[in-house]
């Protein structure tokens, strides 16, 4: 069994201001990192589901995401 957490980046545009998925996840599956080159003062942030094997399919992130950008599938 393998869990795939997909984030629609056309909907999730400013995770550094929202961060709901980061905070609700009981096992901290998500991480937030910056994508621009200026590491002293980065501006562009992106959320990624990093530790998907720890996902318990509680679907809290799917329910709580204000932009409905997250979907979880199990293969």
């Amino acid at each position: 069994m393998r869990t795939i957490v997909e984030i629609d980046y056309s909907k999730c545009t400013s995770p550094e201001e929202c961060g709901v998925c980061l905070q609700v996840c009981p096992s901290a599956v998500f991480i937030m990192y910056f994508t621009d080159e200026d590491f002293h003062n980065p501006k562009e942030w992106k959320v990624e589901a990093m530790f998907t094997s720890l996902c318990s399919h509680c679907n809290l992130c799917v329910k709580k995401c204000p932009k409905n950008a997250i979907s979880i599938t199990v293969k």
Partner: protein, 287 residues
Amino acid sequence: MCKWCLKHGAGGKWYLNAKNYLRETAESVDAFNYLEALWGNFEKIYIRKVLGISSKGIDYKLKLPIIGRVARWYIQRGIEKERNQNPLTNEGHFGQVIPLEEAKRIVTEMADTVVRAICPCRWMHRGMREESCLAFTALAEVLPRLPRYIPETGLKQLDGDEAASFLEEMDRRGRVHTIWTGPVPYIAALCSCDYPQCAAIRVRVDFGIKAVYKGEYVATLDPDKCVGCRKCAGRCQFGALVYADSLGRPVINVEKCWGCGLCASACEEGAIRLVPRDELPMVRGVY
């Protein structure tokens, strides 16, 4: 004693060797440039490619029969590297759990400059800005160039007593005290961690990568002194201490114990005591 004590401890514990906090030590390992790159690229280091494999879903990849073992060995070798450390692959950066008393000794006796900074792990994992990292000399000098780690109140320098009472407060709230190298043997920070928000405790507990070592102690219980108040129950983050209701006292699994001393500091009867790891043959040398 762990291998770092033997190499950098000058006969004692390596994190209680004042030399590992000196500016001269920081200069000799080029800690200033190292820490600027490490803290500046913190999230990118965490999500970097390992041996050309993307870190996304790294947990599945670490379970693969051969590739997983090679990746694990490669990551571990990098963490323990002692020369020409590349901050962008997290070489020479690891931590160790220490009890409250030793943490207080470090901030009052060993470290010159102590400032409070935003914790990069919680920012990355939870998107929250919490001032729970104590940064020492070299890191304190580098932080003004990395504005996202500066608290709203600014980088205020703490004296020994302020830092010690901050650590006591963190201990009361149930945080594990850890020291962090940057790069080894220079000790750059003292953090107040909790699982799963701490990036290193997370990879150690869930994937067995030793980015943080267990402490030099383990907790033991004196059943005669225990009154069964349950104050220690719920303090353990590693599943080592469980309150056994039928016995009316907690039981401690020393194999799982990290020696953080949170259960001992909650015990008002003095029934839980930290003993050196070396005294128990089962966990001797197991960090």
